[in-house]
Subunit: 161 residues, 2 copies
DNA sequence: ATACTAATGATAACCATTTTCATTATGTGT
DNA sequence: ACACATAATGAAAATGGTTATCATTAGTAT
């Protein structure tokens, strides 16, 4: 199932209902916007986009909706270090859309990658098993990010010298 | 060299000086507090500890000092999702003190682990090499965190059912 | 339709972090 | 030691993302 098919479809309705949440225009619009986005949106980014379609949806609702969708695991919430949280759609099927991030510490640009993911995930799975056992810790999620300088910023740094 | 030997030693002075920073009581005290801490301290935690020794050091200075020490790579800054940054001393020698985190999404407890680190780091190094080449991205750092429920919170969850 | 209750928007509050700016302390050249 | 240039500092205010409050609206089971 593709992201775009979720919109207006029974898919979200079912997810919301079975978690005890009601179905509203706002919630559909917000998931719609995030599904279609090709970058990692902040709450305000989402608000602006949603608001342009449904002007009677406020920033407060955006925050509240993001919170419940993160709790429902429909969305992932990230901190890339620029003081505002970013959201992206969670993988729809096993593995699909799963990726990690390269974060430029200079310009805050974020590159998604899904090369090398298979090896990473395999090792993570093994690691998780060992950690779960040793620390009695039930792992539900992981975060892998590489920090450094993107091409542009690294070139600027060299020129400046 | 052990952490505790850094305090009052020429070590920090050299690091500061060669980066163009001046040596002050505050900076020494702040690094001292973080070196001796066995948990991940927030800026306010650090402020309170430093302030009890040197009452004329303000929160602003703590923030400023943390910022430059992160930039100097003396400290690592983390976000464990509770709205305030946490700081810990960076590894002193190659690999020493290096660890990753298990973060409880319920109570925000953080467990450091350094089992499995060797395999993880080996894979990361390989991954970094590939990513650097493919995306022209100069990687200087990485972040690995596992999220889930610590023993206590998982037990509570089960009981509640 | 009705009633019950969750969801919402506007506003204010919150709170970690930054900025401002006048004052103080540090390192350098003498 | 001394003075100078300038970085560092503290107090206070500002900033800005996020959360709480509360009266109103809207979804849903009956």
């Amino acid at each position: 199932m593709h992201m775009r098919n979720r919109i207006g479809s029974p898919w979200l309705k079912g997810r919301l209902r079975c978690c005890g949440y009601k179905i509203t225009i706002g919630r559909e619009a917000i998931l719609d916007v995030i599904s279609k986005a090709d970058t990692h949106l902040s709450a305000e980014d989402i608000y602006i986009k949603v608001h342009s379609m449904c002007p009677n949806i406020g920033l407060t609702t955006v925050y509240r909706t993001l919170e419940i969708m993160v709790k429902m695991r429909l969305l992932h919430k990230f901190d890339f270090g620029d003081g505002r949280a970013r959201y992206e759609i969670a993988k729809s099927e096993e593995g699909e859309n799963h990726h990690h991030h390269l974060v430029c510490t200079n310009c805050n640009r974020v590159i998604d990658y899904n090369d090398f993911i298979d090896e990473e995930v395999r090792l993570l799975k093994e690691t998780e098993k060992g950690l779960s056992r040793k620390y009695n810790f039930k792992i539900t999620n992981h975060l892998i990010q590489f920090y450094g300088l993107c091409e542009k910023c690294e070139n600027l740094r060299i020129k400046r010298k």
